[in-house]
Symmetry: C2
Subunit: 267 residues, 2 copies
């Protein structure tokens, strides 16, 4: 599997810098976040930059957050950006509980309803919606979809080219059902994202993700399972960690490529 740089890994770098560092390290894919696309002057300008380095856009992060007002227009805008960027996969972080709500079944139903509303719009524009299950520690505030199995239950209401799922090692490594669910996901794996589970969980629980190899996840069996499920796309490295963000982005991308060779495969 080839390597892709998710721009969150070099959070403070511009899209131009991220794309250049990717190309300089032999990396052929990039997965931009929307804020980086906006800072580059919008989707058309961003695509020009990315095309200048001959990179494949492996996904756009992110749509979702269906628990906040204005979600539909915002997600339609995200689909439009993905289409302009040539990103075939729009990653959805589906959102948590609405403010003050304790209605988890209701929030989960809202995700299903939001997909119903959004899928035709996305399908018309050639963009697949990629449901990302987040680690259960984020269930209350970021994603009420907590397991790959649950993501697939939602995805299977639609055609495989309309709705897929993201396998992110950080979010799913603990799941006793993981390997069965990866097999079940054949044809629907929109993205394979990697980073490591590093202890202790930091004060900002979002920022506990480390470089591949720095934590306790065994990557080979998960990578093999994803490949066995027929996935032939890139592996996106998406790291949220203050020390990684504070490092020189050139060093970060070089480390990322080195770890990919050590733990995953050819760049």
């Amino acid at each position: 599997m080839k390597l892709s740089l998710n721009t969150a890994t070099v959070k403070y770098a511009s899209l131009e810098t991220a794309a250049r560092l990717a190309a300089e390290n032999g990396i052929t894919g990039i997965g931009p976040w929307r804020d980086v696309v906006a800072a580059a002057g919008g989707a058309a300008a961003a695509r020009k930059i990315i095309d200048g380095y001959a990179l494949t856009v492996t996904s756009l992060c992110r749509g979702g957050f269906f628990h906040v007002p204005g979600w539909l227009a915002d997600n339609q805008a995200a689909v439009d950006e993905a289409a302009i960027l040539g990103a075939k996969e729009l990653v959805l972080v589906v959102g948590g509980l609405p403010d003050g709500s304790k209605d988890l079944p209701g929030a989960r139903q809202q995700v299903a309803d939001a997909l119903d509303a959004l899928v035709p719009y996305a399908a018309d524009r050639g963009v697949r919606l990629a449901i990302e299950p987040l680690h259960p520690m984020f269930c209350a505030d970021r994603a009420v979809v907590s397991t790959l199995g649950q993501a697939l239950d939602l995805a299977e209401n639609f055609a495989p080219h309309e709705v897929g799922v993201v396998v992110d090692t950080y979010h799913v490594w603990w799941d006793p059902e993981l390997f069965g669910q990866i097999a079940r996901a054949a044809g629907r794996i929109s993205a394979y994202q990697v980073c490591d589970w590093v202890l202790p969980i930091p004060a900002d629980a979002l920022l506990g993700r480390g470089h591949v190899g720095d934590g306790c996840i065994e990557f080979a069996p998960i990578t093999e399972a994803v490949a066995r499920a027929g996935y032939t796309g890139h592996v996106e490295v998406e790291i949220f960690h203050q020390a990684v963000w504070d490092a020189d982005p050139a060093a970060t991308v070089a480390t990322m490529a080195e770890r990919h060779r050590a733990y995953i495969g050819e760049v």
Copy 2:
């Protein structure tokens, strides 16, 4: 369901104080931790204190930690203490990955092997081993059993009176399979523990548990499901939170009883 005070909720109180506060608030159960039992002079002395307040010992916390050297002798000692205390349920926090290990399937197999070794010893002494699935955020360092379904898969290798499971709202509230698995647990629910999921997750991720009602968990449906599964024991309140620990234990126990009436039922 009647109320029980897990001594972790008043972490800095002695067993004598905890037992007295329980009784003063009309609480009929207590779930001691082993350190509190030791500080009271051992299991026999602890039982005398507890009997003095006519409390039921709803569980002993905890055995497990099968990933550390010396686990078998330590767990046998925990069983002995449970038997002396009259605790019919020994809660098992099964342990995480051994130091430096990334072998999650191996750690999970070790839990199954440890149960094989420990169950006869416990059954001979009338103590049921109660597997507690912990929230997946603790998979690496505290418990490789992460879901109720996984706990039941392990428990079902034994008779219902030999191995049960713990339903702790903090650990399982997010689980899309929760209600089906609670139904499946009929006859094997060793303890029903409650506390709330409070954001943000604190710097010490162990200490994010709040009083019932302070977070985002909807207790009624879970309590009803546990009752429907035939559970007639106490509800243990087990809170790990620095501010709760720093409060006057008398206030903590009073709040606990008040929240129980508001969210769960009669004390």
